[in-house]
Symmetry: C2
Subunit: 391 residues, 2 copies
Amino acid sequence: MQPPPRKRRISILTSTGSIGQSALAVVRHYPEWFEVVALGANTQWDVLAEQIREFKPKYAAVVDPYAAEKLAEENLGVEILKGDEGLNEAAKVPVDTVLCAVVGAAGLHPLLSAIGAGNRVAVANKEPFVMAGKLVMEEAAKHGVAVLPVDSEHNAIFQCLHGYEKSDVQCIHLTASGGPFYGKPRETLAAVTPEQAVRHPTWNMGEKISVDSATLMNKGLEIVEAMWLFGLPESQINVVIHPQSIVHSMVEYRDGNILAQMGVTDMRFPILFALTWPERVDTPMERLDLTRMNVLTFAEPDFAEFPCLALARRAAAEGGTATAILNAANETAVAAFRKHHIPFLSISDVVGATLDACRASQDYSLASVMDADARARETARGVIEQIGSLA
Amino acid sequence: MQPPPRKRRISILTSTGSIGQSALAVVRHYPEWFEVVALGANTQWDVLAEQIREFKPKYAAVVDPYAAEKLAEENLGVEILKGDEGLNEAAKVPVDTVLCAVVGAAGLHPLLSAIGAGNRVAVANKEPFVMAGKLVMEEAAKHGVAVLPVDSEHNAIFQCLHGYEKSDVQCIHLTASGGPFYGKPRETLAAVTPEQAVRHPTWNMGEKISVDSATLMNKGLEIVEAMWLFGLPESQINVVIHPQSIVHSMVEYRDGNILAQMGVTDMRFPILFALTWPERVDTPMERLDLTRMNVLTFAEPDFAEFPCLALARRAAAEGGTATAILNAANETAVAAFRKHHIPFLSISDVVGATLDACRASQDYSLASVMDADARARETARGVIEQIGSLA
């Protein structure tokens, strides 16, 4: 395994969350492979300062003004780019790959900035695809930029599709662990706390995505993400319950052959794949031991108790800005749940009521998406207040 | 799914065995895709006659002189090619693909004939690779001929490797059902009859390969086949017990990602794949239903009770004509077992004693291989006589 003739230049935006830290853990193993050009944070300037000391990037993007000031006081010899615009500027710095790991809708603009600058993107943030997947893929095509999925399911599908024709795909099977509450009766979920909801049974992830996993909205968002990433209609995207999370997803071809990607439940694997693609490097992580894993099971999903998946399919089938509305309502509801403003089971109520109230447009432009996003957040906040006043 | 602009011309040699009949069952579904040019049989002229009436090939190869005469009497308007040489002649007729499905060592010459004539080959017959894999692959390279594996394990690996670099392969995992006797104590196998040995738990196959599955020699032969097909050393070929036979085999890459091919246990799937490659067509067969299958399990193999696998690894590691000796001894021993001349457990004794007695050469030429094959058969027959006289 030879290092590349010149180091690959990468930016990780932002780098202080779960994915960002995992990515730097990977990069640490390959000093001859990667040069870190830009890192970033929303508020966690102290974590970012440590990362800057170790990886010596040229740029540090900091969204929060107070955090930017605190970082500046550290005198780390790094150029600090401030605010939302700073994050966009950092994404535009020419590199080999920008790892886009902002949480939520806030990731859309930095992703588009990276693509617009001609940077290849490794995307760990599914919300931009749910909001504006058509736009993202069109921009990527226009700028000749590869889009590499970091989500373990989509990374699996990418690997199973490589070298084959999309027109030969019968369907893709997204595997779903079911999250911490799958199979539990709905009435027992009424009292679920944010602390319980973020404890995922098989993956160690960020908090927002962990709540999405508990409601199964995450799988719904993944359906939309897969539609745009792989250019398939919602009807060709199947979900299968696989509690062990060893098979990360599958592609079924028209001739009945199924290709599956398997591995341990460790986000560093898809991150490593995306950062080194199209090359592969020896993993420093522990491999999957086929003979020491549990039995693998697959089951037809029963989502009656988890309405978020059906809501996501409804928005996906409607198209246009419906999925942007879905995403905005979900982000607003999850934030309210995490602040104990609404109970766990109300997350889907908020999303459903918002989808009912907001008319979707078939205009996929950024202005139209941002308008839908804003309207949906306002509507969702109204629904949340109502729920609060009834409690 | 458009039919091709012109029909694909295929020959199936021989066509009266398990693979040949499955292949014609596949071809029957695609009248617009395939034109059958040549079929063949050893002795089963009546089965062949039926096939000729249905598929109207131009040539029929018949190895057995009496069978050739009987077929000629049917006046089917087909050109009959007689004897071993007839089979070679049929393999040389220019077509898109020759499906090589002769049983045992007898398949080597027709395979080389097909390749030498520039015909792409789909190979269901592993013995030629075990005898002379180096020669087969060198001839294929020389004539620019693609070699498509039909064995379900190797077909799976072919699918999991496509589009990727061989140098990135950590290892391949051949899955093994274990056959009908895996896990049973050795002393209970002493009385196994040929009728019991040919009943495979998950696959419906020919008789010779079913006995090989029962002794686990089949997995040993597959290791050698994989070495040559994929250009990997024996040390990179792992065997894992997977009793359900749903995962047909896997490729593990250096970065820890594993790609697996899954499907039902039906040889028509790999046959269809090989005949239509690089295109894929809609399967007329029942697809794998992920949610209705058993749990999948994988276990470290315990081959203490099944010495054939260790004998195959020993021959594979020695290289040269050692695997030709292994194959000849095994064919001779299996034939003797099927005629009730030796007990089941003596198959491995015959192979082991023959490997001990016959010196292998590092000369991979056809003459050297055929010499090793002949010497090994003679030696094996001697061992079998000795066992018979002791019984």
